[in-house]
Amino acid sequence: MNYAVIIELLSASIRIATPLLLVALGGVISETGGTFAVGVEGMMLGGAFGGAVTVLVTQNILVGLLASMISGVLLAAIVAVATVRFRTDHMVTGLAVNILALGMTSFLLRGLFGGKTPVMVLPTIGTVRIPWLCNLPVAGPILFNEPLMTYLAFFLVIPVHLFLRRTRAGLTLRAVGENPSAAFSVGANPERIRAVAVMVCGAFAGLGGAVLSLQELGTFTDGMTNGRGFLALAAIIVGRWTPFRVMWGCLLIGAASALALNIQGWGLPMSSYVIQMTPYLIALAVLCGIGRKARMPAAIGKAFLRS
């Protein structure tokens, strides 16, 4: 392996981790508040779609990013209303939203454009070279020569961490996830807090989807998230619901995926199907290793009842 290949491997890890990280940060917020974030796959797809269609019409990426967040929030609102107001099962609701998003985006893609799938060639979010730093050896081309959303995703880890650990609102959110009755007894409104947390998660997941459609590909294809939302959920568990560790979880999955592509060039006497399994095997192995230590928010998945 030469220098260029190693650099590419590491920057590929970061690229693959970017959409996962945005989705996972949203998931951390939702799950800390006590709502399983199973619907992030659908919210992500909704965001990818909303962003792409908006950029197609407006040719403005900022408006597209906003639209992707709104699309994610709209799908999240379904989860919020169903789980908080009607106390539905979180897993079933999340899966329903995933299926809904898959069908609805495919339908709207054709419906909005008169029954024909449009050929979308969208402007993409370009790479931003950070002056001076990008000339550093190794770290320069890997860390300081990335597209805008990648910087944003990794930067957002800090405010999300500070919010959860250092602010009063973050403390209340954690309390609602651990023991909503106790939080209620000191004046918090668990229903509203959970609903807001789910919708914030939707905004993050929508942005994660926009990374795929507006940064990576500049187009939308049916079901383009392709299970990445679920990988983000795995990263949340690997990271035990704390933003920095979740970031490492995403990078681990990114590195494993990048390596799986690279290993095929080594000429190992192994089927490509086996090599393609490696990211998931690594994720499973890590989950098994961490599983015992992982402690999810105590009241996650449990409806809050005022009594």
């Binding site: 060639v121 392709n226 690279n262 060039g265 000429g267 089927s271 490509s272």
Partner: protein
């Protein structure tokens, strides 16, 4: 009593005939072609929806072609693998004499249903084997077109390294195209390095893009592939890094006109039309029919940059001539390429 029964029987009989006559005259006036003969009923079963501007739209082109040829054509969309056998039987029972399944996945249900309906010809689009007396597979000659792209890629490459991103390692049509790509490239430059990466999902554009980027980082300056929605990922990666690629439809050219050199455009309308003619003549059953540059009825596929042009204008004339020369050799039968699984192996 006896009289009465006889009378009523006769009356019922007359009623039945007049109803049939009415229906027949209705069809004769409205749809004259329908009554040409009972043999002309064809059904096309598609795994997705006809407006996907991709695989299923190409299958629907077959429906239109058969209509032009005077067949009475019915079609079903979104036929799921679990429902294939049932759908085939339904059409066969209704007297359809030609049933086309527009994906290789129809092969095993057709092998199952075929023997029960000997008067019906079953055709698997993109299948890889015939069965019995009435189940046929048709496909375009992946080998020829993969070879042509290999020649093009090797000629255009400056680094001596080219790549290909594919799905479904080991599937016969993938083996044919990828293996021939490698052989075609080596025919131009025996020292060229051809690296193949197999991805999990032919629909995952972001995953395909990562695979293409890793090939480009290794040094490839031409990336080919046979994916569905994933093809867009290959083209996007090539576009960003300023290397060449090929697509699968002229719409792919629109994605990146300076990146895409040509597209392998499959002509399913033509192939189904030709296969239908053959089945009518009773010359198709049980066969695996490949349509290529050396076929009489249709070439199976075409290299198209736009609807009018074969190759991107940036391809130098001597390379255009070289491609034409190889095409002629295929057409005359002078060049025959056979590919083994090993030719299509992943990696270098």
């Amino acid at each position: 009593m006896h009289q009465k029964i006889g009378w009523s029987r006769r009356r019922r009989g007359i009623g039945r005939y007049s109803a049939v006559a009415l229906v027949v005259s209705f069809f004769v006036t409205i749809f004259p072609s329908f009554t040409a003969s009972a043999q002309d009923k064809a059904a096309v079963l598609l795994p997705g929806s006809i407006n996907d501007q991709s695989w299923n739209a190409q299958g629907y082109a077959g429906v239109l072609r058969l209509k032009e040829k005077g067949w009475d054509v019915a079609y079903s969309e979104n036929v799921q693998p679990a429902d294939m056998a049932q759908a085939l039987q339904d059409y066969a029972r209704k007297g359809y004499t030609l049933i086309i399944g527009h994906t290789g996945r129809f092969l095993s249900p057709m092998e199952l249903v075929g023997p029960k309906f000997p008067k019906t010809t079953f055709i698997v689009g993109s299948g890889n084997a015939g069965a019995g007396k009435n189940v046929a597979s048709i496909d375009f000659d992946n080998t020829q077109f993969g070879y042509l792209i290999g020649v093009l890629a090797a000629r255009m490459s400056k680094t001596g390294k080219i790549g290909s991103v594919n799905g479904l390692e080991g599937l016969p049509n993938v083996v044919a195209q990828v293996g021939a790509y490698r052989k075609g490239a080596k025919s131009v430059n025996p020292n060229i390095q051809v690296k193949v990466i197999y991805v999990q999902d032919m629909e995952d554009a972001a995953g395909a893009k990562e695979a293409a980027l890793s090939l480009i980082a290794w040094g490839a300056d031409y990336v080919s592939g046979k994916l569905n929605a994933g093809q867009l990922g290959i083209i996007q990666a090539a576009k960003e890094k300023g290397v060449y690629a090929n697509g699968r439809s002229v719409e792919d050219t629109a994605m990146a006109p300076d990146t895409v050199l040509t597209n392998i455009v499959e002509k399913w309308g033509d192939m189904y039309g030709a296969a239908a003619d053959q089945s009518k003549a009773g010359a198709l059953g049980g066969k695996f029919e490949l349509y290529g540059l050396n076929s009489k009825d249709c070439t199976g596929a075409e290299l198209l940059y736009t609807k009018e042009k074969e190759l991107n204008p940036i391809v130098p004339q001597d390379i255009v001539d070289a491609i034409q020369a190889v095409k002629k050799k295929f057409a005359s039968g002078e060049l025959k390429v056979s590919v083994t699984k090993d030719d299509a192996h992943g990696g270098i």
